[in-house]
Each structure stands twice: as structure tokens, then as C-alpha cells.
Subunit: 192 residues, 2 copies
DNA sequence: TTAGAAACATTCGTGTACGAATGTTTCTAA
DNA sequence: TTAGAAACATTCGTACACGAATGTTTCTAA
């Protein structure tokens, strides 16, 4: 797709009711004058901004340390858990197994991890971190922005707790339905 | 890549020190016994789980309503803002312009939006929602899980506030450095 | 023992997501 | 006026990310 670049001055859309054509400074509310369901909207926007910040941070990591956020996440999991099956690694980092395959592919190409088919059960593949991987994992910064990581530490504990609990509350609410990826599930009905 | 599926019982990696080969129930801590920087780790994990939940919800939307989360987000923005330039839409939904191009492509294919090159300034392309798009946008559920959306409304306001502020605090900390995508930036130094 | 279920890893198809590069068009200053 | 900057949309290349489908291998019950 995207090959139809030949669209010129189209005139076949009579949509144009509200918001009179003039784009007038579209941005005038930001985090302030929220219209309807205030909190929900603010939460949605915050989540989107957080996701974006994480993504952007990942690209910076890739430039400076030759490793992306998800890759680093997997590497750290392997570092502290020892060799893992693909499935287990996936659960550990809250990704689907199919996603992890690709990440491991790239880590393997870079020689940071190794795959080894289990002799006892040949369905399984053990993924283990290499010495090079250990180096990288040990020296790379937090998978979270250094800034956040740093700022977090300097926040009064009360606020750290508040943020942590708020996020976990959101997780609970979101995963309430299903999401099998959660290890064991021992968080209880909702707690807080 | 991923063509080298011919790896059998590799034996060329002498890594295997800690975590004696036995995978022993890898998951035994969950949200409880966190080792080091407790809060940071819990925050990272929560964020990852939230992102995953959003992604999964998006796929459900796609199945039931023929529209994904990001697509719905753009549609809603157009619904309440009227026609927008690609750039402006991108800022509105906190995505990069290049990402928005693809989303608009797919919405356009489905006839939910239309592109129109501005006659006055031919660099610009106005994106406007179609009648069909208006229908979908009006009937589709929240881009957030219904469950969360619902649960949120039933939470004591104090908690809604607490969650909202916590998320916005995280946003502040994360975006502290740069991230131009934020419209106008009127949030102040950090507030809270 | 043997057919089918179950557990695994992987592939496939699709849709984000981003920055860098590209191509137009418009603006701006010499 | 005209060369270069700036504003736009878009393409390109790469990496996630997921579910469904596939292929092996192992388990399990008839």
C-alpha cells in the first residue's frame, strides 16, 4: 500500500461540519482543561506518553550500547535467573513467546546469548547468557531512563510507594479479565 | 535471519555457573520478594504489563470492531478536533509523524478518513474523518479496556486522582529531558 | 502400543513505532 | 531575486509485538 501517492486536491469529501476548517491552535488544553471523563482521558494520555518515552529511550540505548530495551530486559532476566526456556523467559519479561524468539535471534547474532536444545527433552531450548552478554548486562544502564531511575530514588519514599501502587492498581484493573502471561498470580483480587 | 534452524545439541558454550542447570520453579517472587531497588523494579514490570495489556486489548478491538487501538485513537482525535494536519494529529495522539502516516493509510483504505492536500499551502495534507469513520468512532468502546474504564469510574475519586497524578508524575520524570511531541508544554516544572 | 493431547519453539502475517533520509513547497534574508 | 532554511508528508530500514498456524517431541490414556 501507500503506493497511491497520486492524490491531488481531492474534492470528494463533504465532511467539514464542526471545527470550521481553520485549524486554529489545536493545542490549548494539554493536561489542564479536560472536557469529559477527565481522569480516564488523562490516564490514557499519560500511558501513551510513557510508552513513547520508553520507546525513545530504547532507541538511545541502541545507539549508545548496541542493545535495545527489550533485548536488555531479556539479558537481565537471564543474568539473574540463569539459563531459561523460551517460554519461561517470555513470562519473566511479560512478552509473548513469539516475540521473544525474535529478540533472542538478535541477541544470538550479537553473541550475547546462546541457544541449546535440551538433550533430555528435545522440545525445549535453553537460552543462556554468554560472557559478552554478561559484560553488557552489567554495564548497561537501567532499562528505564536514567533520569527517571535517578529521580525516583530521590523522591520521598511515600511518593515512590504511591507511584508503585498506582501502577500496580492499573495493572490489576487491566489484567482483571485474562492475560495468562502473569507468573503464578499471587496478587490477590485487587488488594491495594 | 532465523534461517539457521540447523542448530543441534550445541556444546560450544561453557556458561553455566550460577543457577545450577535445573530450571527449578523460576517464578517464586512475583510482586512480593523483590531483591534490590524494589520500587524501580516493580515500576518497570508494571509498565511492561500495562503496555502488554494495551496491546492485547488493541487486538481484541481489531477483531470485534475492525479497528485497532492506535487507529481508534486517531479517529477520536479527528472526531473532536475536526480536520487536522498529519503533524498536528501526531502531536495530539503522542505519536511520531512517520507512525501516523501508516495509521492514516490504513484508515483511509477502510474509508474512515480522507486526505486532502491543502490548496493554500501544498506542503500540507488535511486529514478528515468520514461519515463511516464518525459512526465507528461513536460506537467503538474506549481505547482503554472496558474493564479498566468501568472499574475506574467506580473507584473512589481519591483513588482516581491518586492514579492520575502518579502516572503524570512518571510522565514528567520520563520526559524531563526532551520529547518534543508534547503539545505546548504547560505542565510546569513538575507540580504534583 | 498407539492415537491423540499437550508442551515447546518457531514461522507467518499484520500493525505499530521510531529516526533518518527524501522530495516538495514555502519562507526568508542577502 | 534567489539561495538556502524550514515546514511538511512520506519512504525506508529496523525492531517490537501479538495471535494463529506449523512442526517436533513427549506424554497419556484406551
Amino acid at each position: 500500500m501507500r503506493k497511491t501517492k497520486g492524490f491531488e486536491d481531492g474534492k470528494e469529501n463533504p465532511e467539514k461540519k464542526e471545527a470550521s476548517s481553520t485549524p486554529r491552535d489545536v493545542f490549548s488544553e494539554g493536561t489542564a482543561m479536560i472536557p469529559k471523563n477527565s481522569y480516564e482521558l488523562r490516564i490514557i494520555q499519560s500511558l501513551r506518553r510513557i510508552i513513547r518515552a520508553i520507546e525513545i529511550h530504547s532507541r538511545k540505548l541502541a545507539q549508545k550500547h548496541q542493545i535495545t530495551g527489550p533485548q536488555l530486559g531479556c539479558l537481565l532476566a537471564l543474568l539473574e535467573e540463569g539459563p531459561l526456556l523460551g517460554t519461561h523467559l517470555a513470562k519473566k519479561v511479560y512478552l509473548s513467546p513469539s516475540t521473544v524468539v525474535g529478540i533472542i535471534d538478535r541477541l544470538e547474532e550479537k553473541g550475547l546469548v546462546a541457544r541449546e536444545r535440551s538433550p533430555s527433552d528435545r522440545r525445549q531450548v535453553q537460552v543462556s547468557i554468554s560472557e559478552a552478554g554478561r559484560q553488557i548486562a552489567a554495564n548497561a544502564p537501567s532499562p528505564l531512563q536514567d533520569r527517571l531511575s535517578e529521580a525516583l530514588k530521590n523522591l520521598p519514599e511515600l511518593e515512590q510507594v504511591s507511584i508503585t501502587l498506582a501502577l500496580e492498581k492499573v495493572v490489576d484493573l487491566m489484567e482483571a479479565g485474562r492475560i495468562d502471561a502473569s507468573p503464578v498470580l499471587e496478587t490477590g483480587p485487587i488488594g491495594l
